[in-house]
Amino acid sequence: MRISVQDAPFDLGKESTDFAQGHTDMGAIVTFTGLVRDLPDDPLEVMEIEHYPGMTESALREMAQTAVARFSLGDVLVIHRYGPLYPGEMIMMVATAARHRKDAFEAAEFLMDYLKSRAPFWKREVTAQGADWVASKDEDEDALGRW
């Protein structure tokens, strides 16, 4: 299990390869990657991500441990960036390794649902019109009801 909260970019390709090669006793690997959308007509200049050092790592670790136990994972990886992120950049990724595809998929979705609403990150979007904190979505809170 590796949890990394970092301001530096990460290499999706290298992370995916390393994760898969480390777990050849698992038949299924799922990755999710979240990006700052780069839309030609969108006024977003930069997305700033604030977090709660200390709590962030422990909250992510607890989520990952829960996922490992609940979905019989062989391993899990969570990388989440903070600081200023520009359109097109990768914000975060999770990877899960399981014997069967159903567990790998469900664990990745579980982690994303919890990470969205329970890990202490806050996004702020800066556009030509000014800066605004991203509001939480009811649908993200509702998604937790599934688990």
Partner: protein, 82 residues
């Protein structure tokens, strides 16, 4: 003495990221009441508790949680990670 932390727009409204507070508050709600009585910027920041979340010693909890033995309390809006 307790460390109180503010994040995102709570930090912006109160105007600082953290402070040490001398308090006898028994619960988070008691602490919130003390803070609101201090100054308008606190009163404004805590005016709608449904828009806020709280963590005691880095664990999410409720506003009626006890502060017995707590060293750190953090207030912030709902998280928007991922």
């Amino acid at each position: 003495m307790i460390d109180v932390l503010y994040f995102a727009w709570v930090r912006e409204r109160i105007g600082l990221p953290r402070e040490k507070i001398e308090t006898e508050a028994k619960t988070v709600a008691d602490l919130v009441a003390e803070l609101r009585a201090r100054e308008d910027r606190y009163d404004l920041a805590f005016s709608d508790l449904t828009a806020l979340r709280v963590a005691v010693d880095q664990t999410l909890t409720d506003f009626d949680a006890s502060l017995d033995g707590a060293r750190e309390v953090a207030f912030f809006p709902p998280m928007t990670g991922g």
